[in-house]
Amino acid sequence: MNKLILLRTASAGTLESSDCVVTVSPAEKMELEYKGANSAVFAERTRQLVDDVANNMPLKAHRYLYRIRVPLR
């Protein structure tokens, strides 16, 4: 299968209650930024989730900045 290359920043989701906004953009290295009300208690799980999804996608080079924002309390 052809590998995908990330060309530009894209985002999905909203800041409505219980939702989150995920933004993916090209970067120097793999990075995860997770901000918002419950970010402390779910940081590890989120990192794992992002890794799993990223590893299962045919991405050409795993160098992206994943920014996840959760609504503030």
Partner: protein, 519 residues
């Protein structure tokens, strides 16, 4: 620090440096039914007769009070987030060069982040309060400031004052209406706040009382006097006690959130099934959200069946005041008024009675009102499978709440119902162990969530009634698992157990838990 493990398995200090010795919590009524201990002495004063106690400014009142470094000052929090008095007085004290004071307000309004600055500056080196929020909460929980902090319930604070554990040297009492000899009331004036319940207790036991007012009325204040002149030493007039819009807000409206309404409806159904809603029943409603919405269903039912209750109690908001007006309760006992509708009711309705904190909830007097309460609805930040409740710290371990009347009403009421959504912001509310125990599970009869009603196993009678009425009863451990399936299991916050940030007293003076600094 010497620690001991109390009956809930929580580690608490035996001795808090800068404060004194404590006993660990054993059970809700362990300290009651015994011969009386001695009370703190009340101050006798011998001033020369005078026709006015008005002094030029706060500085002058402070000089006259004999306040020295290391002494204890107190305030009430009836002006809520509209209060300008606490920052004003602390500012003056700082300028006058005071140090090492014990700051002992009845609670700290959210808005007063400045307290943190006065702690950093060394003005305040000991804190006694019912609650800590905002910047101050974050600061304390970060372990950045190392001062002893004791958190007490409203009843517990009254007890502590009456027994002398809190020895107030100077009480600075914001007085919405005051005359030149110090008769005070809270239900009239541009900064009217309704009941002065917490202030009344301070006025009786403080060594020196300063009334601060923006509304000096002609002598004598009438018809209502909440604090009589013989407890007041000086009167200071200032331009404004604060922001009236934030003091007496509009009445909290019943929530429209369908999840909260579901919780409220099921809570009411539990009340009904328990048989407690009968003529002569007494009730304390919550302040907002689901805990207030229960009142809507209760009101409908009481009207339909023509039931009149004996008394409403609280923490009184507009909804309770309107139920009084509709004749659904014979009386309302008010220790703190939340909005302008309540203040109006207090002024106009003789059955709306002002009470002080001791009358309300002190477990060490001849009989406080919470001990006669039939039913109370309480909120929670967290609960655990032993039915313990946390209203002090968030799931990140940061101080963000107040003990308030929680422990007192839960212990006293025949039916104590705690309401909480099963998760908030994706984080479950039901834990194996709450971060900080405020109210022990032994005093909690039921926890109502939108996904089920959990009944304390010790209440077999209540469980039987709930099942008979076909209510959605759930096992709390099963419910916890179910919620975790949806949200995942949150990673617990990490604490530095060498940093004791605050101790939490139970209403009888024993220690129920300790708050540690975040790592």
């Amino acid at each position: 620090m010497d620690m001991s493990v109390n009956s809930l398995g929580r580690s608490v200090p035996m001795y808090l440096p800068g404060v004194g010795h404590f006993s660990p919590y054993t059970s809700p009524f362990a300290m009651l039914g015994k011969p009386a201990a001695s009370a703190a002495p009340m101050q006798l004063r011998r001033p020369m007769p005078a026709r006015s106690k008005v002094v030029a400014d706060i500085e002058k009142a402070v000089e006259l009070s004999g306040l020295k470094d290391g002494m204890t000052i107190s305030f009430h929090h009836h002006l809520r987030n509209g209060d300008a008095v606490i920052p004003m007085v602390l500012g003056v004290l700082q300028k006058m060069g005071f140090k090492n004071l014990t700051f002992a307000p009845s609670s700290i309004p959210d808005a007063h982040d400045c307290i943190a600055d006065y702690i950093r500056s060394g003005l305040i080196t000991r804190l006694y309060t019912s609650g800590v929020r905002g910047e101050l909460g974050k600061l304390l929980s970060a372990g950045e400031i190392n001062i002893p902090v004791v958190i007490r319930s409203h009843g517990g604070r009254a007890r502590a004052i009456e027994e002398g554990s809190i020895s107030i040297d100077v009480a600075f009492l914001a007085a919405p209406a005051c005359d030149c000899l110090g008769n005070i009331t809270g239900h009239t004036g541009p900064s009217a706040c309704g009941s002065l319940g917490y202030a009344i207790t301070d006025s009786k036991y403080a060594r020196y009382v300063v009334a601060i007012t923006d509304n000096l009325v002609e002598y004598p204040l009438h018809p209502k006097i909440s604090i009589p002149q013989h407890f007041v030493d000086s009167v200071v007039c200032i331009d404004s006690l604060g922001d009236p819009k934030k003091i007496a807000t509009g009445a909290a409206r019943i929530t429209r959130n369908p999840v909260d309404l579901r919780i409220a409806k099921d809570s009411f159904r539990l009340m009904k099934a328990s048989g407690i809603v009968e003529p002569g029943f007494s009730f304390q409603m919550g302040v907002g959200g689901a805990s207030l919405a229960v009142a809507k269903y209760l009101e409908e039912y009481m009207k339909e069946k023509g039931i009149c209750g004996s008394f409403g109690l609280g923490g009184v908001g507009g909804y309770m005041a309107s139920m009084l007006e509709e004749g659904l309760f014979s009386t309302v006992f008010d220790v703190q008024s939340f909005d302008s509708a309540v203040t109006k009711s207090m002024t106009e309705n003789p059955n709306h009675i002002e009470i002080d904190a001791s009358w309300y909830a002190n477990p060490f007097n001849a009989g406080c009102l919470v001990h006669n309460l039939d039913c109370v609805i309480l909120a929670a930040l967290e609960v655990d499978t032993d039915f313990n409740v946390n209203v002090l710290t968030g799931n990140d371990g940061v101080l963000r709440g107040a003990s308030g009347g929680h422990q007192d009403t839960a212990a006293g009421a025949k039916l104590s119902i705690v309401v909480a959504p099963s998760f908030r912001g994706g984080v479950p509310s039901i834990k194996d162990k709450v971060t900080t125990v405020t109210t022990p599970g032994e005093t909690v009869d039921a926890i109502v969530t939108e996904r089920g009603i959990c009944i304390n196993p010790a209440r077999e009678d209540l469980l039987a009634s709930a099942l008979k009425a076909g209510l959605p009863v759930a096992d709390i451990t099963e419910l916890k698992k179910e919620v975790e399936k949806l949200t995942g299991i949150p990673h617990p916050a990490e604490y530095d157990y060498d940093k004791v940030v605050a101790v939490v007293e139970y209403r009888d003076g024993t220690l129920i838990d300790t708050v540690y600094g975040r790592k």
